[in-house]
């Protein structure tokens, strides 16, 4: 099987320090890969570099598109990048307010990616938006309300619907559950797990929450100081951590 996304020695640094360096991995179709690590370890930088939101300094980044072509993402032209980001990728922000358009209704937020790829039928856009609201367990009758009328957890689900409406194959998530209370987190994680399985999504999740990683991820990458210090199957890494930092990380989880 060819990997969907493949990184080799990917480096992005800010003035020669911080950022992430020398990251290599393969992400296969349908796989959920979790990037864990403490604050400032370069998780978000890595995610942004992978999603082409920031330019990498060096290394290789390849993506296999729907029609089977292998694309060199670092040299891909701007229009192709945008098309890719709109049709095959999704990006869920940590703060739903960054990923949603605050001035327009929930329906317009979900419909925007559709209109961006050429949907011009109001009724159909609206129907699709309502279907997606139901899929992410939102009340579809609230389609005309502004995002600010929804609670934090609902906004996050709205953002997920907006990202999945174009049927992407690869979704980047930057701490999707941070800032939500525990019960809302649990429901959101449940939803994410259902969606990733039913839609056969490949997901890259950045989190500092080991619980999220344990629940969702097939594989895990542990980052410290910008470098990947350990990687492997989730259960393997969490049950038998090898690197001292991973050991500390696993040991610091509060027992319930």
């Amino acid at each position: 099987m060819t990997p969907l996304l493949s990184a080799r020695s990917l480096t992005k640094q800010y003035g020669g320090r911080n950022g992430c360096r020398d990251v290599s991995f393969d992400l296969y179709p349908g796989e959920v890969l979790c990037i864990v690590g403490e604050s400032g370890s370069g998780k978000t930088t890595l995610l942004n570099t992978l999603a082409l939101r920031t330019e990498a300094d060096s290394g290789e980044l390849r993506y296999t598109s729907t029609n089977g072509d292998t694309l060199d993402l670092r040299t891909l032209s701007e229009p192709r990048r945008r098309l890719l980001a709109r049709t095959e990728w999704g990006f869920v922000q940590q703060n739903p307010r960054d990923g949603l358009r605050a001035g327009v209704s929930a329906g317009a937020n979900i419909g925007e990616p559709l209109m961006a790829v050429g949907a011009r039928h109001y009724g159909q856009i609206r129907n699709t938006a309502q279907q997606w609201m139901r899929r992410v367990e939102l009340d579809a009758t609230r389609i005309d309300e502004l995002p600010s009328a929804f609670s934090g957890g609902m906004q996050q689900r709205l953002q997920i619907a907006r990202n999945l409406v174009t049927g992407p194959r690869l979704v980047f998530m930057d701490e999707p559950t941070a800032g939500l209370d525990v019960s809302v987190q649990a429901r959101l994680l449940d939803l994410l797990r259902t969606l990733t399985t039913t839609l056969h999504l490949s997901v890259l999740i950045v989190t500092h929450d080991i619980g999220v990683a344990r629940l969702l991820a097939h594989r895990l990458m542990v980052m410290q100081g910008g470098a990947v210090v350990e990687s492997g199957l989730t259960d393997q890494v969490l049950d038998d951590p090898q690197h001292p930092y991973t050991q500390t990380l696993v040991a610091s989880v509060l027992p319930v």
């Binding site: 701007e78 229009p79 945008r82 358009r101 001035g103 327009v104 209704s105 329906g107 317009a108 419909g111 925007e112 990616p113 209109m115 961006a116 790829v117 050429g118 949907a119 011009r120 039928h121 109001y122 009724g123 856009i125 005309d144």
Partner: protein, 324 residues
């Protein structure tokens, strides 16, 4: 507004200006280098229909928002043999139109007119004349905000990128939101269009009633935005499409009324309140069109005569104001 006739006196104004341009000023106020810069921008704008060309907008002797872009474009293209018409909301005798017309009469000495047919350059704010334009005419628009995407994308650099990639999904979001809130596309002016199948363009705040006139118009249409420093153009016979949804097609507004002065049912009507009791009257917004129809056809409905008289007596200041 379409004030009752004052044609006779305006002809007198024309002759008095036919002498000379104002002493101490270059022809059409701007210096020749500035006009050259403007013409270069105009040529580029005509070559790429709908594309916003940046230009070095000058300070003009009127405030931003009063047509500084429009008068710079007019100043760059006007010649001694041109005949200028200036309209504001369709009317020749509102403050903005009167001032700009007088400005060019003084600084160029060219003939001015109120008749759409006689004009070679028509500078306009908020309307396209009802009388069809010809290949020999140029329509100059005053544009407050040339960027149709600015409400949804405040970053200028990002807007440029969206134009470059013709990435216009955003503007549909605005129309979608309109239908959500009002049940139909409620944008009635500055209705976004696609020029020549490529660039998303703001038609300036003309009513959407005028949008169909942009399409395949015989006249050259130039747009100047002074504060935003952009010039763009729609060359003659260029296809212009108003955006819409498949199930909510573009349509223009219609009135139940006919113009109270000329009886036209085809023109864009202004609603005017004529007395303290809230009596209303609908009249053509294009004053020249209305005058011309009345000159051709003196038979006005008897029912309307009263309203006209009432209107004439309520606004005597309009006549006095213009020739003061």
């Amino acid at each position: 507004m379409n004030a009752p006739d004052s044609l006779q006196t305006s002809n007198a104004t024309v002759t008095s200006h036919e002498t000379q341009a104002a002493a101490g000023y270059n022809f059409a106020y701007l210096d020749e280098q500035t006009k050259r810069m403007l013409r270069r921008a105009l040529l580029k704008a005509v070559a790429v229909p709908g594309y916003q060309v940046p230009f070095a907008s000058r300070e003009m002797p009127l405030p931003y928002g009063w047509g500084t872009g429009g008068i710079q474009v007019t100043a760059a293209i006007i010649g001694a043999n041109d005949t200028l018409k200036v309209i504001d909301q369709g009317s020749d005798d509102t403050t903005n139109a009167v001032n700009i017309r007088r400005f060019f009469a003084r600084t160029t000495g060219v003939a001015t007119t109120r008749h759409t047919r006689e004009a070679s350059i028509i500078q306009t704010r908020h309307r396209i004349p009802e009388t069809p334009l010809t290949e020999k005419q140029i329509l100059v628009y005053q544009v407050p905000m040339p960027e149709p995407l600015f409400r949804l994308e405040p970053r200028v650099a990002e807007c440029k990128k969206l134009h470059a990639l013709s990435d216009y999904g955003l503007i549909s979001v605005e129309l979608y939101e309109d239908i959500v809130q009002h049940g139909s596309i409620a944008t009635t002016y500055d209705y976004p269009v696609t020029v020549n199948g490529r660039y998303l363009t703001s038609p300036s705040p003309i009513p959407k009633f005028d949008n169909p006139k942009l399409h395949m118009n015989a006249a050259l249409q130039l747009f100047g935005a002074g504060r935003e420093r952009r010039i763009y153009a729609i060359p003659p016979y260029t296809p212009v499409k108003s955006l819409d949804f498949d199930d909510h097609p573009f349509e223009v507004q219609r009135w139940e009324h006919a113009c109270a002065l000329c009886g036209s049912r085809e023109s864009f009507l202004d609603e005017m309140i004529v007395d303290d009791a809230g009596k209303r009257m609908f009249v053509c917004s294009d004053s020249d069109y209305c005058h011309e129809r009345r000159a051709n056809d003196d038979a006005i409905d008897d029912a309307n005569v009263d309203t006209i008289d009432a209107h004439a007596t309520t606004e005597p200041a309009t006549h006095a104001g213009e020739h003061a």
